[in-house]
Amino acid sequence: MSTHAENKNAVRTYSIVLGALLTLTAVTVTAAGINFGSAFINVVIALAIASAKASLVALYFMHLRHDRPMSAIIFVTGLAMLAIFLMFCFLDTLSREQVQPGLTAQAPARAVSISARILSAS
């Protein structure tokens, strides 16, 4: 019967995906212990591995690969909004040096003093 074949297929697919997810978890833990040159590159690698895992979950466990396109359209639109949100906030924070030189150098101290003010006020 086709249902039996389909049954075996789904179990096989989900098992392979789980295996890949667990392997990628081991990879990300290992990668965190290696110095790739800068902390930034390490973060990029960690996020790339996390995104690979999230994609596997979305495509197979959440059926986006075989689903009608509407679900993926909604999902990707949401991610695009998140990307805009992230991009402009980082653009702002990272470009302050050009707008007002010396601001970034003081930023950690300033941020700590702001945090301290918030903490002592509450």
Partner: protein, 221 residues
């Protein structure tokens, strides 16, 4: 007229078909779109925290590094594995529902619920340890001997992000318990399993958020 007659017939055949839908297929498709829209709002809810985390980590990179050393990397990895396996069992539960296998549906739902319980149990152990050491968010921070200022900021993010995620796990457990009750009662069939499908989508999203939280909080190098 014949229209109302058809509706009555529908209702008699499909107890879970709501009157404003043509058939169960249309009802399932509509509810799935609603679920994905909800998941997108969840992504943006956590998105705000991720943006805040990113900016604060940029400004306090040393404090974030020192803060993360207080976290138990192996417990974090264990919880990642537990949640990934629970996502697998949830996918299997949805598949069992779709193929009309009630026994396996109940089995996989129960397994998912158990893994969710293990996840929160590990989280409880981690939180107790943090409470004991005074590693608390914001003004409740009591840990002494930090080499850099601002470690409290890391723990503010740690507790809000993992706390909100933990609440989502808890909500998922409530939803899965409800599914279990309905599965035992025999509500689901190969034609009607949308609640299992939609709870599955939610559960995978909760898993997906943890996939990002784990490296961002536990693996700062």
């Amino acid at each position: 007229m014949s229209g109302s007659h058809t509706v009555v017939e529908h209702g008699a055949q499909e107890p879970f078909l709501q009157h404003h839908f043509h058939d169960l297929g249309q009802q399932a498709e509509a509810s799935k779109i609603g679920m994905w829209l909800f998941l997108v709002t969840e992504i943006l809810l956590f998105g705000g925290l991720f943006v805040g985390y990113g900016i604060m980590r940029m400004l306090h990179s040393q404090a974030f590094h020192e803060g993360h050393l207080h976290l138990d990397r192996s417990l974090g990895a264990l919880n990642t594995v537990v949640l990934l396996v629970s996502s697998f069992t949830m996918a299997m539960a949805v598949h069992s529902a779709r193929t009309g296998n009630r026994q396996r549906l109940i089995l996989f739902l129960a397994a998912t619920l158990a893994f969710a319980g293990v996840f929160l149990g590990v989280k409880y152990v981690e939180y107790s340890h943090k409470f004991h050491d005074g590693l608390l968010p914001g003004r409740f921070y009591r840990h002494a001997g930090d080499s850099v200022p601002g470690v409290a900021v890391f723990f503010s993010f740690y507790f809000v992000m993992t706390g909100l995620h933990g609440l989502h796990v808890l909500a998922g457990m409530v939803a899965i318990s409800w599914l279990l009750r309905r599965a035992v009662r025999g509500d689901f069939s190969a034609t009607y399993y949308a609640p299992v499908d939609l709870t599955g989508l939610y559960w995978h999203l909760v898993d997906m958020i943890w996939i990002y939280l784990f490296p961002l909080l536990y693996l700062i190098s």
